[in-house]
Symmetry: C2
Subunit: 395 residues, 2 copies
């Protein structure tokens, strides 16, 4: 049997939703999966021991090519044996391409056919990122899944702008594929492992579908990306300013047209309700900074909606953040204490809210998977979405 | 047998150093002991689960009366059932009196016979702290050990200034004792427990010896404090600007004259070498912000001296902070990664360096206790101090 960088097996479906196993050279990932974001080689505020604890236990996290390339720099990470060894994490990693981060710099960057020129947010120096550089970096990082270098259009880009963007993305995807394959042959992948059953030990590469809010362009981008051929496919350029209904229209039209036997990854999305709704459209993988970033800003995601821990109504509230949650934070600490920590500027506030939020996102996905397997996904979806809106007065 | 708030039994001595058991209503503390500082109800950057793990495992931590009184305020903590319940910690707590924090405000405070007037660092409001207020607050916090409200003189105070200060401290100590006893009788102590063997379930109160750098005043302050009668005695007003040799002269002269059957607590001191040297002078208890504060600032304490993690020599160093250390940080992470986290401003830098530093301080005290019990303290002391200076080039 031919060995591949990853394998993907769907084991249950419910409507368009599907539950499966994504096998990588560093572990098996049950899908649908939420991947915590570890921008600069750390999921902000969370120790790796906590990540590995049953409360959280993600089998894969993200690293950001843009951030790690600028600091500590790829020579340092290579000298330290790749990203896994550098950060002390031996489970799976997915690295983005840096395209989205550079695009986020807005006026500070200049895009040409060759790539993107920009000023480093670290030291102001002039930098240049291209498909080839991105592949160089991601192969040196040695992630299990690398992403093609893409160009993202604004959420409300008009047809012409978005059409130019997907054409450039397609040319960059082909260059990403070529450079990536060359690097794999050269042995530059620092995460390489011995072959396992059905698994080659090499790195996987995902393509990215763009097209802003234009169905026709999404379709065209999908065709061009699939034609090049990747180990999995991502839907990019969403949750970047477009209306929510447009976002779901694009997800729906794209996900179902992607190859059925490969994983589908919706990049940078979203709220707990977004995740559940996108699963219903056939998406398998997600990442988002919401649980970590909002946790640092004092916002908790709960089964009854969001809580703003700064709210004075929690001053002497001895209840946990979410009475329905069994995470370590909810087992031990009250809203009153968490509010005090936040108002006092204590680091523990970020640590504990981040932990709870990640526990909520990861547990939600566990329940999503379970409900797809048991055939109860429509019921789970209805009850989950209904419950979320029951406590919005605490937000 | 008469029941007391705490009991203290010396089980081994080596010269003036002594190893013992300090029994409180919330657990037994082996001495000599280092108490991590939990200023605002959290040991900064460390989750309680980590504190309770074998790496750290302190049986007692500090809370700061000044900080907790100002925020969240005593009404909130009382409504939440006392400090233990509020923060989610059921081991022993020691609260300071707030005297030192107010003294640290310098020109922002005004001292009278009645107490100290100052402006809150939280909201600028005018506040007044006195022996009576401090006792009110500490009893509401419900710590196992409360401290008398004292007045601290600068490290280089002249005889006259220091003499005035110890006289005021003595009058405040008497007022602290009276108010504290009255509050205990009234049932205001929120940490009260059922009586245990030899333990009454009530809160303990320690007196504080002052006197700046003047032996005669230290002696006089000691006599006046012991005359009032407390459950234990602290040496205050050291490590506040005086020379190191003066500090040790004061410790030496004071510790040995304190009641032999009660615990001796050196407040706010110090470096690992300070702790070992003060144990040799007969001190039993310590607290200091050094491991936590310096950890946040990128400094690691190791068996070979201090390391400044910012130093570029660690850029690709794959060794742990301290190859002789077995803490979770040293088992998992390299100096190169920790340097990257620090330079990237990642919270995990503070979390991990604080963890390691606390592990080093607490493990040092474990080894101090063991060496006193086995009769090897002089050898341990000599080797420990010698080893500390072997790597100062990394500082």
């Amino acid at each position: 049997m031919k060995q591949a960088p990853i394998t993907f097996d769907v084991i249950a479906t419910s409507g368009n939703a599907r539950a499966g196993f994504l096998r990588t050279r560093r572990g098996v990932i049950e899908t649908p999966v939420f991947m915590p974001v570890g921008t600069a080689g750390t999921v902000k505020g969370i120790r790796f021991e906590e990540l590995e604890s049953p409360d959280l236990d993600p089998k894969i996290i993200l690293g950001n090519t843009y951030h790690l390339w600028l600091r500590p720099g790829i020579e340092t990470i290579r000298a330290c044996g790749g990203l896994h060894k550098f950060i002390g994490w031996d489970r799976a990693l997915l690295t983005d391409s840096g395209g989205f981060q550079v695009w986020s710099l807005g006026a500070l960057r200049k895009i040409t056919e060759e790539g993107t020129e920009f000023r480093s947010h670290v030291d102001g120096s002039l930098c240049f990122l291209s498909p080839e550089v991105s592949m160089d970096v991601q192969v040196a990082l040695g992630s299990e899944i690398a992403m093609a270098f893409d160009e993202c259009a604004p959420g409300q880009a008009d047809f012409e702008e978005a059409a130019k963007s997907i054409a450039l993305t397609a040319r960059w995807a082909a260059r990403s594929r070529a450079k990536f394959d060359e690097l794999q042959l050269s042995g530059a992948d620092s995460g390489r492992t011995e072959p396992l059953e059905r698994i080659s030990g090499a790195q996987a590469l995902f393509g990215i579908v763009q097209g802003a809010g234009h169905l026709q362009l999404r379709k065209e981008s999908l065709d061009r990306t699939v034609e090049i051929g990747f180990d999995g496919y991502a839907i990019g350029g969403l949750s970047v300013g477009e209306e929510k209904n447009v976002m779901f229209e694009m997800i729906s039209a794209t996900a179902l047209n992607l190859p059925v036997n490969q994983p589908r990854y919706l990049m940078g999305v979203g709220t707990p309700e977004d995740l559940v709704e996108a699963v219903a459209e056939g998406v398998d993988m997600f990442d988002c900074v919401l649980p970590t970033r909002n946790g640092r800003n004092g916002q908790a995601f709960t089964s009854q909606g969001r809580i703003n821990i700064k709210n004075s109504r929690w001053t002497t509230d001895s209840q946990p953040l979410d009475p329905a949650c069994e995470c370590a934070v909810c087992r031990r600490h009250s809203r009153a204490y968490l509010r005090h920590l936040y108002l006092s500027g204590e680091m523990l506030s970020s640590i504990l809210l981040t932990h709870h939020n990640l526990a909520f996102f990861l547990d939600t996905m566990r329940r999503v998977r379970q409900s797809i397997r048991s055939g109860d996904f429509p019921k789970f979806r209805r009850e989950f979405i209904g419950s979320l809106s029951s406590n919005e007065n605490g937000a």
